[in-house]
Amino acid sequence: MSASSSGQGSLVKGPRWLTAHALAVFAFLYLPIAILILYSFNGQGVGGFPPRDLTLNWYRILFNDGPIWDSVLNSLMVAFAAMLIALVFGIPAALALDRAQFPGKALFRRLVLLPLILPGIITGLSLLMLFRVADVKLSLFTIVLGHGTALISVATTEVFAGLQKLNRAQEEASLDLGATYWQTFWRITVPNLKLSIIGAALLIFTLSMDEIAVSFFLIGRDNTLPLEIWGRLRRGITPEINAISTIIFVFSLIAIVVWYRLRTRAEVTPEIGAELVETADH
């Protein structure tokens, strides 16, 4: 085979092969989710292929299932509280990393990422031992503390990235125009970081919502949704779980689309922060 024909072959066959590969990867990623969704409408339960007798029955059962909704509520509360804790501690840490000079800064910068890299089992186990020593009774509160501390690093890294992109001259201009450091922080720095903060909040919320490992060690009497599902799976799969998973999937999808649109709009027009404030006012 001549060099030119092999070159031609790679030009034609290469993309075809790659397309097939891409489709396979895509199927591998999304087929399970598609099947999960499909079977949430399956009248025959989890068995049988193809799904027959499409029904909303599982959703009806789901909506009357008290324990599952309790766990959903628990998860939402935990995620929200963990998000607040992570932001309240993470944002000042990002500011310190960006602006302050202190001994051990480089070490701090690496250590703050550690909880993200550490297996959840280690974080969970060490927190469990800490709570034992401190004689704190396990409850949703301990889960909130666990998620909150583990996810501070997410807030710190996201906001730190935002700070690095911020034009410092804007803050100097604000000081120059008579605003104190505090006024400058609220009027200039925070609006410029709005996107990073919202991004961090969404990410923390999502990570907390589906967290299992840390929760597993710190759980008290009340279940979070992932633990509730996990507990039920041990008794066998019911399409009801498919149904709740489908609902979670839809909400995640909406969150992703909203986030993506915010981000792309921000790239076109950097004044996204102000627009967010405007829409919030109406």
């Binding site: 034009n167 001259a169 804007q170 100097e172 201009a173 604000s174 000081l175 120059d176 125009l177 008579g178 605003a179 104190t180 006024q183 009027r187 200039i188 609006p191 410029n192 027009t269 950097p270 004044e271 996204i272 922060g273 102000a274």
Partner: protein, 379 residues
């Protein structure tokens, strides 16, 4: 305005009217790196002073010390009899136009300009009227509701200016505000900015690396070299009487003549001219336009001054056409290469021997200081 003066009026290196700002022996070190060294400067009320220097000369650092974004390592800054450098930036009656403009992207043009007034909690009616006035002054009233990202660079520049001026500062600092604009717009803005400064009567300290810009706009130029003040004088004086070889080379073009002085006569190659300098080595600056083709008919009559005329013959090396003027490079009999600017005209072909002359008074003795680019002081 009574406080503003014609650039030509302030020819002395000392300000004529009352001093607004007093910079006293200011130095700035970044670690081992000395950025500013013993800077002392008095700036008059209503003056347009330009801090001119190459990149790395410390001009922006000096401006940032005045604005309050940097603390000087030693020295003091006073404004109208009060210590300025100990105040935080937000308590100084000093405003800045940033090189990048630093407009707030999340606010409209109007909100940007009104920022200082709203921070100062001025009454809404006053904010409205001052805002309208400031926007009108920079001809941007039509863009009040626009976002900074929607207006051009030149317009952003005007907004940055309005945002600073609306607060009626005692001192306006401008950090290379025209460097991002294209050449035509820049020339237009130079004229507008100078006119605006006369109109509002506020003291301007303008930082630039562009010597032409400095000449066009300033009442006085403070030339910085490697963190030290090389010369402070009006544009005319700094051009006509450069104190150092660096000044002579940085501002405009010049011929530097390395001469030997013996009993009142400077000797450089085949050139000889009378001087008041003491015996020994001396450096002279001779501007290219001070040398002209010798007038064969009436050699002495054409001279404006009574000072001695120095004649010499030289070979024409090359001739560059610059529109109204020609730039000649000639080699004098002793092998000295000189640059000469003359009115544009046809000259004989190269290698022609020509007669030139200059007035001895135009050979300005200068202190020898090298161009900073040759002796980069980095630690």
């Amino acid at each position: 305005m009574a406080t503003t003066s014609e650039p030509a009026a302030t020819t002395s290196s000392q300000p004529s009217s009352a001093s607004l700002l007093s910079i006293r022996s200011v130095a700035k070190h970044f670690g081992k790196n000395v950025v500013l060294r013993d800077i002392s400067l008095e700036i008059a009320e209503g003056e347009f002073l330009t801090i001119l220097g190459e990149s790395g000369s410390g001009k922006t650092t000096l401006l940032r010390i005045l604005a309050g974004f940097e603390q000087s390592t030693s020295g003091e800054v006073w404004m109208s009899g009060e210590r300025l450098d100990t105040e935080p930036p937000y308590r100084r009656r000093v405003n800045t136009v940033f090189q990048s403009y630093a407009l707030f992207p999340h606010m409209t043009v109007e909100q940007n300009v009104g920022y200082g007034l709203s921070i100062a909690k001025r009454p809404a009616a006053e904010i409205q009227s001052r805002l309208a006035e400031a926007l009108a002054k920079v001809k941007m009233s039509a863009y009040a509701k626009s976002k900074p990202s929607k207006i051009s660079g030149g317009q952003q520049q005007r907004i940055a200016l309005a945002r600073a001026l609306v607060n009626r500062p005692r001192l306006l600092l401008l950090d290379e505000p025209l460097s991002a604009l294209d050449a035509n717009l820049r020339r237009q803005m130079q004229v507008e900015l100078k006119a605006l400064q006369r109109e509002v009567g506020i003291t301007f300290i303008f930082v630039t690396h562009d010597q032409e810009e400095a000449m066009v706009m300033s009442d006085r130029i403070a030339l910085l070299r490697s963190g030290e003040l090389e010369q402070v004088a009006s544009p005319r004086e700094i051009y006509n009487r450069p104190a150092t070889s660096y000044t002579a080379q940085f501002i405009g073009h010049t011929n530097l003549l390395d001469a030997d002085v013996r009993q009142g006569t400077a000797i450089c190659s085949a050139l000889k001219w009378p001087t008041a300098m003491p015996d020994g080595a001396a450096l002279f600056s001779l501007r290219p336009e001070c040398i002209r083709p010798a007038s064969t008919t009436s050699a002495t009559v054409a001279l404006p001054t009574k000072s001695a005329t120095v004649r010499f013959t030289a070979k024409l090396r090359d001739q560059a056409f610059h529109g109204a003027t020609d730039l000649l490079r000639v080699e004098s009999d002793g092998g000295l290469i000189l640059t000469i600017r003359t009115a544009s005209r046809d000259l004989p072909n190269s290698e022609a021997r020509l007669e030139f002359e200059f007035s001895a008074a135009d050979a300005i003795p200068v202190r020898a200081t090298s161009l900073a680019s040759n002796s980069e002081e980095r630690h």
